[in-house]
Symmetry: none
Subunit: 217 residues, 4 copies
């Protein structure tokens, strides 16, 4: 009745080496790797365009110039595709989070912050679609939503380290950090989706200004 989940059974979880993570055996050759990557990219594109629910597998395979059958060779469901995209983004984002600098109100400090924000913007430009979809309701309860919340929590915690200075002792660290983080995320969102007319440079300059002001006002 319940057919063995081929993709899952085959251990297709994404790994750069193309070897299933559970060691169950299936190894993807070059061509398979390419197809899988094409489907992941297409997924990012389509989820960005329509959100998780409105996105159809049909759209994904069309963008990837593949077929339904092929899709289910690599992903056990639409949700699985999203999961794997989330994994990818979370990994990249975690790496970035580790590098969030302690903001200083100096020429150098501002340069460091600006650089980090630029890298965040680059990542957002590529995978913002997935990040935005984290927010999409109903998923919030599911493990996916949780995953997104975890990353958000780590980012906020990293930002909160900036508030452990006497200067801003009066601010509630968790809330302030979250305020700054969401501001950064949303602004990137509005710029990435062209809902506000601003150049990337203007975005960065403003963010550096506002964040610094908030921290050292």
């Amino acid at each position: 009745m319940s057919p063995p989940d081929r993709a899952a059974a085959a251990g297709l979880r994404p790994t750069a080496t193309g070897r299933g993570a559970d060691g169950s055996g299936r190894v993807l050759r070059a061509r398979g790797q390419k197809t899988r990557a094409r489907l992941l990219d297409a997924g990012a594109t389509v989820f960005a365009r329509r959100g998780f629910h409105a996105a159809r597998v049909d759209d994904v395979v069309e963008v990837a110039r593949s077929s339904h059958g092929t899709f289910y060779l690599y992903f056990s469901s639409k949700e699985d595709l999203f999961d794997q995209l989330v994994d990818r983004v979370a990994t990249d984002l975690d790496a970035l989070i580790d590098e969030l600098p302690i903001v200083r109100d100096t020429e150098e400090g501002r340069a460091e912050l600006r650089d980090w924000l630029a890298r965040f913007a680059a990542l957002y430009d590529r995978y913002g679609s997935v990040i935005r979809t984290w927010t999409e309701a109903e998923l919030s309860g599911a493990p996916i939503g949780r995953h997104g919340q975890d990353v958000l929590a780590r980012l906020t915690a990293a930002m909160a380290r900036n508030l452990q200075t006497p200067a801003r002792a009066t601010l509630h660290p968790a809330i302030t950090a979250l305020a700054l983080v969401t501001m950064v995320e949303r602004l990137n969102y509005y710029v990435a989706t062209s809902q506000v007319a601003a150049t990337p440079d203007e975005l960065l300059d403003t963010l550096v200004d506002v964040v610094t002001a908030a921290l050292f006002g």
Copy 2:
């Protein structure tokens, strides 16, 4: 938290005349008014839980303890229900936008800002579900999304008036305003959905601090 008079008024305002919104010119008696209100409330609840796409008419009528047939007596489609909810929220929000004070770095100015933010929070507590769903709707470029964008634009414009002072002339007005607005919206979102542990008071205090700092840093 949610101001009762506002909510009650908003519940009926769009059809205060008792005229059905489906263009049929049908006049609603007391019982019909009540059913319609129940469906609208249920819609807000369900859209909040699942988002626009994942929300099923089935869910709405179940929450409203009504039936499919009845639903289509009051709304011509699922989208229509959402539209009417948006109308309700947009009206209330526009009224609030008109009252956004010019922020001043004085005891009195902070009190005014705090008061405004409290009223925003109250509105968000009640109708945040719909506001959040705007984001999802925006992705599809539907007229609904446009409606949301308009309100956002008006709110941002109002906030931008705060930046036309010499003090902050260096900041990009549109972006900064948008940054502050989204920060306020998102923080309310995270508090309303209990994704961050903070009391409403802490939220308000922090927002007043950060907004003031950003404007007068």
Copy 3:
């Protein structure tokens, strides 16, 4: 993501009264009862013709002159339909099992046995399709298969009571009983599916003879 199973949630489990067995609320009116019955009958027909796997929901709704949507209003899946049919058959069969007579080698005893076998044949004629499908492989592990095994076990146990006489003490009760039961079932199968040319009367006469001979040989 996982939409609430409408049929299951609605408590549509079959009950003559049309009230959900779990008391969850949904009550079927006359029309609904009729449609559900039509679908169950169609299921029996189609499963008989093609077996469980080859049967398509398409076939079932066509025979019932209904639609896909309606089908899933009453059954959560093809398997659920089968489950409910099994329930129905198992209940009837259990009632019959209780009445299996102790076989006696007298005119009267043979008449009793013949009568029972006739009733079994009637039931088999109606629901043999479902009974046969119990056998269909892979189902054996699933709860469905188990259900079938249970009924078989009860029938065999009832038959085994016939062997607790000194006369046949040398026979292995469980195996002998099973041998007789399967013989009865299979013969009905071959007659019902016209794979052997025999009249119902010939079938009954032969079965009475062989069973009696086996027990009193």
Copy 4:
């Protein structure tokens, strides 16, 4: 239990010449023979586990540790694989049918019957999976099913020869024979699939007893 020489011989007999069964006239070398045998064995296993319809080529090649491409090198379709398995079994079964003894109610006669039943059990142990699947195939009226019916008819006819004695002239020969045959088949089925707890010896003893009783009761 399964007589090694028989099974081994049967494994290759249909293509003992090394000629592919797909009509391509391809001549198989040792390696090809081995692969083909592995696929046939895997087919028997999988058909047993899931039945004809539920069995996927995927499962077969996985059990055979081969690939889809290879499968279609040896078999033109899933049905072809089943056909070839049926051929294999039918050949063995026909040989056995020819040896069905005329049952006599003597020590020697019982020994002969017991020996024959033991050989049947051995064959069933090995290929019962395919025999069982005949039943499923019969439902669809496919040529495969017909094949199975033919073998059954021959077996029944052979058994019917046992009834042409004055002693049992009152019994309907075809039905009685079929009754005995199906009893033998089903009992082997239940023992082979461990659905009844009985040793092969108990099975044989009981079958000899019941068959003899039925014929000479």
